[in-house]
């Protein structure tokens, strides 16, 4: 006969060893067990926050199915993250699709709201902010999203702009820019006349990235035509253009990408046989210089991946790359979506690793968007 028996005494060493294996969320929850546990947990939690953070690459399927998926690109994530984040996004409760991410927060657009209703959501902590409706209706705006998190609070800025042109060859464009700040909780709109040959033809197809890389409150978008980086400085409140180091056929996500990696602006251009990677390290000064970093031979990568990861054969390997994204912290790593698999390619060591397999026919993954989603800092223990 053994009824459930309470342990008489579990020594401190054992308790701490067990607590050490709990994910952060459980630790935070179990603080209220007793004063002693709270003490142990505070110390473990504090140490855990010093660990190198795992980085997640986030996938969103645009259009029809609108499923959001997360997966880990790092192996040591289970103690920090604990459970899957996939279901968390559906907790938003609305039909949304993700537009941008910053510091672990996602900017989502409500479906069928004509891009006027936004939510800011953290899938790890489930914090949610409902943004008031935008004042202006814009046709397919470019969006920028920046989050600032301190110990006490979270504040964020959303920037969106649309271009009006009267004529195709009109040199003077007017831009309507609308900015939301969580501190004021209102949208402010401005119409700017831009007299540089900037926003000539804001051609975008559904798969191009509409969200900005943000460096020091400066927002950057990759622009299709003309090929440039469109920059908005939210401090000086002006637009300017940054030339690209290389010319490509299309600024389609598989052919080029602009990203922020380790605080530096990076650009990759896929010419079909080789992907060239560039970096700027004196941005956002007005005369930045692109420095060439790497050339990746695409055929070799795809060939290697075919052997290692079972990717299909065929010609024109360069055009099999459907999406490219830079690792948010390590500029030597580029994520490539090749058909229905995502590979992380380390340009320094020329090694590839399979990160995710959609497990679907690759034509179904054609409209997938890739976001690099930085793992958030957990809220501090209160």
């Amino acid at each position: 006969m053994k009824r459930h028996q309470c342990k008489l005494f579990v020594c401190e060493e054992i308790i701490i060893n067990i607590l050490n294996r709990l994910p952060l969320k459980s630790l935070a929850r179990l603080q209220c067990i007793s004063k002693e546990w709270r003490k142990y947990i505070a110390e473990i939690y504090h140490c855990r926050l010093q660990w190198p953070q795992p980085y997640l690459i986030c996938f969103f399927c645009v259009e029809k199915r609108l499923q959001s998926r997360f997966f880990f690109s790092s192996k040591e994530s289970s103690l920090v993250i604990g459970t899957s984040l996939d279901e968390s996004v559906s907790l938003i409760g609305e039909r949304v699709y993700v537009v941008a991410s910053s510091s672990g927060f996602l900017l989502c657009n409500k479906l069928k709201s004509r891009q006027r209703i936004y939510y800011v959501y953290n899938p790890a902590t489930r914090q949610r902010f409902d943004v008031p409706k935008t004042r202006i209706l814009m046709n397919d705006p470019r969006v920028g999203f920046m989050v600032k998190e301190t110990n006490e609070s979270v504040s964020f800025t959303i920037v969106r702009y649309g271009v009006h042109r009267a004529y195709f060859h009109d040199l003077y464009s007017s831009v309507t820019i609308e900015i939301f700040s969580s501190e004021t909780n209102i949208w402010t709109a401005n119409k700017l006349t831009v007299d540089e040959r900037l926003l000539f033809y804001p051609y975008r197809d559904e798969t191009s990235s509409s969200s900005a890389c943000v460096v020091d409150r400066v927002f950057c978008w990759l622009c299709n035509y003309p090929q440039q980086v469109t920059v908005y400085d939210s401090v000086k409140k002006c637009f300017w253009a940054l030339g690209l180091p290389d010319w490509t056929w299309f600024l389609y996500p598989g052919y080029s990408c602009l990203g922020l990696s380790g605080g530096e602006l990076c650009f990759a251009s896929n010419g079909g046989t080789a992907i060239s990677c560039w970096r700027i390290n004196n941005f956002p000064s007005r005369n930045p210089v692109w420095v060439w970093k790497y050339d990746i031979d695409v055929a070799t990568v795809v060939q290697k991946c075919r052997e290692d990861f079972g990717l299909g054969g065929g010609n024109a390997p360069g055009f099999k790359v459907r999406n490219m994204v830079f690792h948010p912290a390590l500029p030597d790593i580029l994520y490539l979506q090749i058909r229905s698999k995502v590979i992380s390619y380390d340009m320094k060591t020329s090694s590839a690793e399979l990160v995710h397999d959609f497990g679907e026919a690759w034509r179904k993954t054609v409209h997938y968007k890739l976001f690099s989603y930085e793992w958030p800092q957990w809220p501090h223990l209160q």
Partner: protein, 153 residues
Amino acid sequence: MITLQSSDKDVFEIEQSILIQSGTIKNMVEDDFTFIPLPSVDTETLIKIIEYMKKHADKTDSKEKNIKEFDKDFMKKTLNELFALVFAANYLHISSLLELLYPSIADRIKDKITEAIRQIFSIRCDFTPEEERRIIMDNKWAHEGTEIEGTLD
């Protein structure tokens, strides 16, 4: 051959080569003990410990997959049994078994409600209800989610 005696006074004769996985026993063997009483380990638990050590004594490459399977099944026990094992492994200094037990126990308890945890670990809450409520409110995000359960096993 070394003789181990459980708290229930049952004796087991095991080869030295298997038992040296336990740091405690290894030390005693080096001091020439051949009879080792273990007053804090009951028979049931000792049998399991011996089973574990026997399996892990033979660490050839071909057996590695077997050992992994064994370890997985070995952890499929009640929480009570796991705790008994962790006390014994702690006392006997069997680090490989501890490395197996800690994450297994952590995994079992990670989603349990606070009352269940207090019962399992026999902890008295020394917060006032007010203080406890405050801590929960301040860390609201950690208490959200559907996974939390209240069983004691």
